[in-house]
Subunit: 460 residues, 2 copies
């Protein structure tokens, strides 16, 4: 029997096990669910053992533990690091769930439960793929290392220290993560690029203390007016960013990439409705899909200063503040962009105010070449499991672990999602489309098989 | 004996009475001082009676009472309405007072107490001037009506209704208010113009709900960015306001006015220190005194939107708000200016956001011609009492009662202050320079005398 036949014969068992996994309320942010976090970690370690993984352990961190698995089969074959997370979001508001969040329920073709798609169902597909190899070929065709964390929903604060402290243990040739969605039930997609982030806080200081606008207005520069004028100079009306040097490192979208992104189904009316706006905005020379995934942006995330209570107060305030973030695209560097915006803000600041810029937060961009062997393997695997070629997609947000793996372990990541856009992540009635769960297992089996055709070196 | 000799002979008595007035803690904003408000009103009514005013009453309002006095002597002579307020600011922080705030204390040439300058001492100077007429000439040379309110420090909320309900009672030819300061001990000044105010609140609406900037950034217009761009278009870098029509009604400063304002002593370093800035700002073609008193201005008094707590949140917010006020000069109209700014904001709003502008508050400008008979009388009175000609000054803030008297009674106001710029109004160690208290009484005596040379009609 080959592994795919094994998968097809065991769907009911796999589903029962998934239900058991989803029944554990492993909510990472709530103290009262600490025992459930421990329980989920232990349960998952046991399933790794069931799948034949010779080394399967729960390893401590300063926070919730990491479940680690290791199955080394052939040193001439690639080593794949499989990342996932066994913690889930809180389930409230409970009253909006049609079925209890931790009583997994089959509704039509879906399984409904907190964590079904994010990320228990998706990571479990890989565990079942490995089990299929054990039951048929005796072992997977590549070396496998698993790292399943329990803090993804609370910011993964102990993941980077764990990776840095276990570089040898985690050494691999490529990573795979199934914690994202594809474009549609029958339309798979491969995320090959993520946006990064530069985030600064600006303080504009005017007079030492708040002043009376009747006494000083007209002769003392108001820091709010000054801040607004400065912010207005960061961007033109169409959304092009006017900070000198900002676009220097931006890799232009290639014609083939644009052709590929044009395949993404896009319903303009539905998008407007979902966004809650009557009109789109932004760089007219790019499509909305391109603007939200492949172009750098600048947003003021917060602004404050002066009197902000109800009514009128004629204050000329001493300070004004703004939080400004920029989504970045390859090959922009967060630190360099933060410096560019800081330098520019200081350069355009009028001499009548003082400007301080603080770098709050940064996230690197990520991009895997579309002809990378691991993406080729994923492409073939998706095509065969779903009956359609996947679309190469870019993601507008960040998946910080991808940058961590790149930085600390020097490996690229294949983002191999099986979820759907309407899976209700972080919301009531989260679900996973069951046909995709099983196709996910098949995709994983085929991915590991095709990946074994490449040498470890070719993946770097 | 003439009234001025009477004043000079009775300085000790007047000072004792002033101390008694200042000893009453008539703090209008504090419930526990309600009895003191009543006590101060009754005490002041009794002093009006002592001064010979035949009708002196405490009249109720929906809040603190008004002390009303009336002394009609000759229907061919002008009737002067004297306004003042007997309530005071709270005295805290008490620990910063060098002497107890309600134990009036002579320190050098000053009397130190809460209310000494604002406004008990200044209004009491007029009461003593009237008494001097009673004791010598038997009656003042003009008809007198007094209205002393008890809510000036809490916004005078019941003054306008009182004036409107008592238009006949308060009918007069001109008003006089001593509740401001002159330029220096020996340098009197006459305020002949006040700035007005237009105050609006702007709401810029973007998406219905806050969005994730990674998912929508670049294709949904951020209302904070849009608001900043709109605010930046209200004013150029030098402070000139760029709202179409904004300056249309502004009366240009006449060369003689500018020459007069140039007489105002101005120490640039002291001003910068006081303002807490390292450099001045604003229309370069006007002096700082002109910018802060005689030119219209635009200040953002408050701005808010998005995430304003510590740290980074990548939100693309649904709403952004700003409070924007404009100081106005004659003959700008608050309602018209509010409409101009509202129309302009809506005209420049990009089609990707919705803009609402709410008119929060307005205050009319005020200007008395410098050749008005009442100002001529005040000019002569000041010149003789202080030994120096007063400078014609304009005030950057508003004194709302001036507009009320103009609107409801149709009369101009003479702002005849005796305070000094360093009187510590609303602050610890408030004081009144005693030589100015006595010169103030003399100025009032002479003012009423010179005013009697004019017909009632000539004052309108």
């Amino acid at each position: 029997m080959n592994p795919l036949d094994y998968v097809r014969k065991n769907t009911h068992t796999f589903l029962d096990e998934l239900k058991a996994f989803l029944s554990i309320p492993s909510i990472s942010t709530q103290i009262k669910h600490q025992p459930d976090i421990q329980k989920a970690a232990g349960w998952l370690r046991d399933r790794l053992r069931d799948a034949g993984i010779p080394r399967a352990e729960v390893l401590p961190t300063a926070g919730h533990p990491v479940v680690y698995g290791e199955w080394l089969v052939d040193s001439t074959k690639p080593t794949v690091l499989l990342y996932g997370h066994y913690d889930v979001q809180p389930a409230d508001p409970f009253n909006l769930w049609r079925t209890p969040p931790f009583l997994p329920t089959i509704v039509g073709d879906d399984i409904v439960a907190r964590g079904a798609s994010d990320d228990k169902g998706q990571l479990f597909a890989h565990v079942k793929a490995l089990q299929a190899f054990k039951a048929t070929d005796g072992a997977p065709p590549v070396n496998i290392k698993c790292i399943f964390e329990g803090e993804e929903e609370v910011g993964s604060m102990h993941l980077d220290p764990f990776i840095m402290a276990h570089k040898d243990l985690l050494a691999a040739d490529v990573a795979v993560i199934s914690d994202s969605h594809i474009l549609g039930k029958d339309l798979p997609s491969i995320l090959y690029a993520l946006r990064g982030l530069a985030y600064v806080e600006v303080e504009v200081a005017g007079p030492e203390n708040d002043l009376h606008s009747g006494i000083y207005g007209g002769a003392v520069h108001n820091p709010i007016n000054a801040l607004c004028a400065m912010i207005a100079r960061l961007q033109d009306e169409q959304g092009h960013i006017t900070i000198p040097g900002f676009y220097d490192k931006v890799r232009d979208l290639e014609p083939e990439e644009r052709a590929e992104l044009a395949k993404v189904p896009f319903d303009r009316e539905a998008w407007l409705q979902e966004a809650g706006v009557t009109a789109a905005w932004g760089e007219p020379e790019y499509t909305i899909v391109e603007r939200t995934t492949s172009r750098p942006t600048l947003d003021v995330n917060g602004i404050w200063g002066g009197y902000i209570e109800p009514g009128a107060k004629t204050v000329l305030p001493g300070r004004a503040y703004a939080k400004i973030s920029m989504r970045l695209v390859p090959d922009q560097d967060p630190k360099e962009v933060a410096r560019l915006v800081s330098d520019y803000l200081k350069a355009i600041a009028p001499p009548t105010v003082r400007v301080a810029v603080r770098n709050l937060h940064g996230g690197k961009t990520a991009m895997v070449p579309r002809d990378h062997p691991a993406l080729k393997a994923a492409f073939r695997a998706y095509t065969e499991a779903f009956g359609n070629e996947p679309v190469f997609m870019r993601e507008g947000g960040s998946i910080p672990v991808v940058a961590s793996l790149q930085t600390h372990l020097g490996i690229e990541t294949v983002l191999m999602g099986f979820g759907l856009p309407d899976d209700n992540l972080h919301a009531p009635n989260e679900k996973l489309h069951l046909p995709n769960f099983f196709r996910g297992i098949e995709t994983a089996v085929r991915f590991y098989q095709y990946l074994s055709d490449y040498t470890p070196e070719s993946l770097h």
